[in-house]
């Protein structure tokens, strides 16, 4: 089946949601919360998720544009 831009965008968003869960709601959170990291590390991880969501959106939109 041909993949549509909307499907691609949806898949990227869902993968990003999974990454967010991985970073913040799994034992993986223990890795970055322990060990005396910089105070802004959670914000950096959060920003990464936001950037991935923005990329998913813009790539989906570029493909939709003729």
């Amino acid at each position: 089946m041909a993949r549509t831009p909307d499907n691609d965008s949806t898949a990227r968003s869902l993968v990003t949601g999974f990454i967010l869960l991985l970073f913040f709601a799994t034992p993986f959170a223990g890795l970055w919360s322990k060990g005396g990291h910089a105070w802004y590390l959670p914000y950096v991880l959060w920003l990464l998720v936001v950037v991935l969501l923005a990329v998913a959106h813009f790539r989906g939109r570029r493909k939709q544009d003729p």
Partner: protein, 978 residues
């Protein structure tokens, strides 16, 4: 440093006046539309999520629970990341069905007024602590700034101002069709103020308190426990629970649902918000740790919930405390206004209207509008009462989280709504009652006990320890666990009703399934009359006119399928006005459907095609492939070079393809939905008559249209609707119309060409035949010079006349034959023997010296209803072929015999016959056994067509070397020659 209460009051009042102005100029259209509908405005308006809890309470939350405060926003980010499978489907449903609240959505899906009522009540109970939280934050901030307890009248004044704003700008329109652009713009502005203020306070803390990042890092180096404390709760039991709670709250809180879905102008705005709103929240939370540390650095003794105010105040800054206070007002007011609006709509549709439906003589619009305004006032008053009773015994975060746990009780219902068709109203009611019961027991009662309302509450700590869960996780786990279990078990134990099944199909598949049946009201005027009984005359008229306008439908529309669309549109428009269940009841009662009427296939096709066109972008997998296939097949029908017309079971046209449009000059839009009998002349008789006839095929039908004659072949086939019994007494039908006009014209041209060719071949014989009398006339004329006897002269003149008559006859025969003929000449009785003799005379001109013997055996009384000239051409062609194939001395006979119902004409020759390999293509044009230049190959093909036009038949029986027999039969009784 402290601020004067009066100056804070004036600043707060002026700020609210500014909000009024922004909302006013937007509503007046003074702000360009592209700004109002810009995704950034939509994103900022979603910032209503960040209330006083975020603005003030995050610092206090961070102080007590470290980075746990981030979970409240990480959960939102997760919800927006899952937007394609969570938020966008809800948005499509709410915009498609004009559902303005979560209660509307639940009532629509589960087809139950009780479900809507429960959702409204639980929302109300869950939201009141949250509204109280906002009022408390404002009064507390006043206390922090003035160092004196503000009088209750100030909190009341704040509530009254918000009520006025909400009424003026949030309850301007009663229908969700009309968006509150002014309100959205004002809320977006408030979010901007919150963001700018909080970032300013963060920068102030960094540079004004610490003196820059280096000093902050140095302080952090000296106080490593400051960062360690922040990281401490990460990954703990509360961490996951709060992410989950925030995930639900992101779209289930009344204010979030309202801004996300009810005030959404474009779906694309939600796509942008899927990343821009989490970014907004990130920026909003970035300064929180710095502000907290600044409070610690300064050694402030105040409540950390209000460090945002205290650090600016303690440094004696001139305007920062005021700006921060305004930011706090923004956060609180936006939340109260939007929550109240959303709740007021829910209360109207699901509590007030079902309890006391207004008298139809009243104007329903005014009743609803003023009812909603009254609700706004009552809800804010209830929030104020809650605030007054609670006093200051609960933290900001506690109040907010209690509301969060309340709203996540709707998660099982919403997941079932989107993804579980089997979910039932009984299941959702049982789940909600169970969930909210546990919520009240584990969170509300302890809070009331803490506030002193009740003295004893059941101790839960023992249970919490057993499950090794904290307070919030325990309450969430127990309430949601019981809720989900009851929802699933009770749903499976109950049978779904048909209306619920249809709503479930609409919600789960994005395919909007139409109901079956025909509306009993037969025109828009009847719609108005019926609806006016319950809606009142003016409301009914406006709603019907509005729906007609939405569908661009004529007020004189009577087609059943179109009236069904009108009914559906009215019901949807009423969803937004009086709620889905009330609307459903009214429309079902007053615009009842006749389920016996057979329109299922026709309607389904129209609806499904319409819906597919709308929701094509959301189709995936097999449904998308099926849609592609359906479109391809539809295109085949459209591009078919034959006219195709399909009829539904009730005889109305459901397909009218391009060729049909081209042939008839009637476009599909005009015909679809109408029966064939309503087509203009002559198509109603032609197609309607054929549809009623028993024959499946009808050939060569002649139709006069637009001053021209046209010919058609018609074919039809019965199409069984797979949804109904195959033995249905009125199945559907497909009619194919083949336009023969071009072929007829071509044939006429070919016939003329063939005649000309024949004339060419006849020319030598004609010349010779004419030459003889001319020679005779010349001889007579020569002798006439010497004749003196009058009698002899008279005889000579007679001889000349005889010869000239002979020439005239020959020329006349030739003229008759060569004259252009058209197939539409009327038929007339013709004496067959005369035709045969004429044809033979012409043929003999060419074959006079071939030594052939011709014999005609035809009774002079045999008459045929025919076109004489075309019939003559048949026999000229056949006799020519026979003569060409015969040898000297052979006989060519033509006999005619009249039987009871047929006239049989046989042409027999003793010629060379037809080779076997030619027999299958004898009647094909340009097929000839003659040498090049001797025949065109059109003779037999034309002869056959002419015979078919006379409803006759032709057969050829030939044996190579022995001769050929051509048998022609014409229908008809013997005619009286007279």
């Amino acid at each position: 440093m402290t601020l004067e209460l009066s100056s804070l009051f004036i600043a707060g009042f002026l700020y609210l006046v500014l909000l009024f102005l922004i909302a006013y100029v937007t509503d007046r259209g003074l702000i360009p539309e592209q700004w109002v509908s810009h995704p950034l405005v939509y994103t900022l308006s979603l910032g209503v999520y960040a209330t006083s809890w975020t603005y003030y309470g995050s610092v206090g939350f961070a102080n007590s629970n470290g980075y746990l405060f981030l979970t409240i926003y990480l959960g939102v980010t997760l919800a927006f990341a899952l937007s394609p499978v969570l938020l966008r489907p809800i948005l499509r449903l709410t915009s498609e069905y004009q559902l303005s609240s979560l209660a509307d959505l639940f009532a629509f899906r589960y087809r139950s007024q009780l479900v809507g009522m429960l959702v409204t009540l639980f929302m109300l109970i869950g939201a009141l602590p949250y509204i109280a939280l906002q009022i408390r934050a404002v009064t507390q901030s006043l206390q922090e700034l003035t160092q004196e307890a503000p009088p209750h009248i100030l909190a009341l004044g704040f509530c009254i101002t918000l009520t006025a704003f909400a009424i003026l700008f949030g309850a301007r329109h009663i229908s969700p069709r009309q968006k509150h652009r002014g309100l959205v713009m004002a809320i977006a502005f408030e979010s901007l103020v919150k963001l700018v203020t909080l970032l300013s306070v963060g920068l102030f803390a960094l540079f004004g308190v610490f003196g820059g990042p280096d000093n902050l890092n140095q302080w952090l180096g000296e106080h490593p426990d400051a960062i360690e404390k922040l990281y401490e709760p990460v990954g703990g039991t509360q961490w996951g629970t709060l992410i989950f709670l925030a995930f639900g709250a992101a779209f289930l809180l009344p204010r979030q649902f309202h801004m996300l879905f009810a005030e959404n102008l474009r779906e694309d705005n939600l796509r942008v918000a899927s990343w821009s709103f989490p970014l907004f929240l990130l920026l909003l939370n970035l300064p929180i740790p710095v502000i907290l540390w600044a409070g610690h650095y300064l050694g402030l003794g105040t409540d950390p919930d209000y460090y945002v105010l205290s650090i600016t105040l303690s440094q004696g800054h001139s305007w920062m405390p005021m700006l921060t206070f305004i930011g706090g007002i923004s956060a609180a007011s936006a939340m109260v206004i939007v929550t109240t609006l959303a709740l007021s709509s829910m209360c109207m549709n699901h509590l007030l209207l079902p309890a006391s439906y207004p008298d139809p003589r009243l104007n329903l619009y005014y009743w609803l509008l003023w009812g909603r305004r009254l609700m706004i006032g009552l809800i804010i008053l209830a929030g104020y009462s809650f605030y007054a009773f609670l006093e200051h015994r609960a933290g900001l975060a506690q109040l907010g989280l209690i509301s969060f746990v309340a709203v996540v009780q709707f998660l099982p219902g919403i997941v079932g709504l989107l993804y579980w068709r089997r979910a039932t109203r009984e299941g959702v009611i049982a789940g909600l009652l169970g969930g909210i019961g546990v919520w009240a027991f584990t969170l509300l009662v302890p809070m009331l006990q803490h506030s002193g309302f009740i003295e004893n509450a059941y101790p839960l700590s023992h249970w919490q320890e057993m499950l090794a869960l904290d307070h919030w996780s325990f309450a969430t786990f127990c309430s949601l666990g019981l809720n989900s279990l009851l929802f699933a078990m009770v749903s499976l134990a109950n049978r779904q009703r048909i209306a619920e099944q249809q709503a479930a199909a609409s919600c789960c598949s994005s395919m909007f399934i139409p109901l079956s049946g025909v509306v009993t009201a037969r025109s828009p005027e009847e719609f108005k009359k019926e609806l006016s009984v319950l809606l009142g005359k003016s409301t009914a008229e406006k709603e019907v006119d509005h729906a007609l306008n939405d569908l661009k439908m004529s007020p004189r529309e009577t087609r059943p399928a179109e009236l069904r669309r009108l009914r559906e549109r009215i019901e949807r428009n009423l969803y937004g006005l009086i709620g889905p269940q009330m609307s459903h009841l009214i429309v079902n009662q007053k615009l009842a459907l006749d389920p016996e009427a057979r329109t299922a296939l026709a309607d389904s096709m129209r609806y499904v095609e319409e819906r597919l066109a709308h929701s094509r972008s959301v189709l995936h997998g097999l449904t998308r492939e099926l849609d592609n296939l359906q479109r391809y097949q539809r295109q085949i029908l459209e591009d078919l070079p034959l006219g195709a017309c399909a009829l539904g079971q009730d005889g109305e046209i459901i397909i009218w393809n391009q060729a049909m449009e081209d042939t008839t000059g009637i476009d599909a839009q005009t015909t679809i939905g109408h029966p064939l009998s309503q087509l203009p002349e002559p198509w109603n008789d032609l197609l309607g008559g054929f549809a009623r006839a028993a024959d499946s095929h009808s050939y060569h039908l002649e139709v006069s249209f637009a001053g021209k004659t046209r010919w058609f072949n018609l074919h039809k086939a019965v199409v069984e609707d797979p949804q109904v019994s195959p033995t249905s007494e009125a199945p559907g039908m497909v009619i194919l119309m083949e336009d023969l006009t071009q072929m007829e014209n071509l044939e006429a041209e070919l016939a003329h060409s063939d005649r000309l060719a024949s004339i060419g071949r006849l020319a030598a014989g004609v010349a010779h035949e004419i030459g003889n009398p001319v020679t005779g006339i010349a001889s007579i004329a020569q002798n006439l010079k010497y004749e003196e006897e009058p009698a002899a002269i008279e005889q000579s003149a007679r001889d000349i006349l005889t010869q000239t008559r002979r020439i005239t006859d020959i020329v006349q025969s030739l003229m008759n034959f060569s004259r252009s003929s058209s197939a539409d000449r009327p038929l007339a009785p013709v004496a067959l023997r005369e035709v045969l003799q004429d044809a033979l005379a012409l043929v003999q001109l060419t074959h006079k010296h071939d030594g052939l013997h011709y014999r005609i055996d035809c009774d002079a009384s045999i008459t045929l209803n025919a076109d004489r000239q075309r019939l003559s051409q048949v026999f000229v062609n056949l006799l020519n072929n026979a003569s060409d194939a015969s040898s000297r001395g052979d006989e060519i006979s033509v006999s005619a015999q009249q039987h009871a119902r047929r006239l049989i004409v046989t042409v027999i020759d003793q010629g060379s016959g037809i080779p076997d390999h030619f027999r299958d293509q004898l009647f094909e044009p340009f097929t000839t056994t003659k040498q090049t230049g001797k025949g065109t190959g059109l003779g037999l093909a034309l002869a056959r067509n002419i015979i078919l036009d006379h409803n006759g038949d032709i057969e050829i029986d030939s044996e190579p070397g022995k001769g050929t027999r051509v048998i022609i039969s014409f229908p008809g009784e013997p005619l009286n020659p007279s």
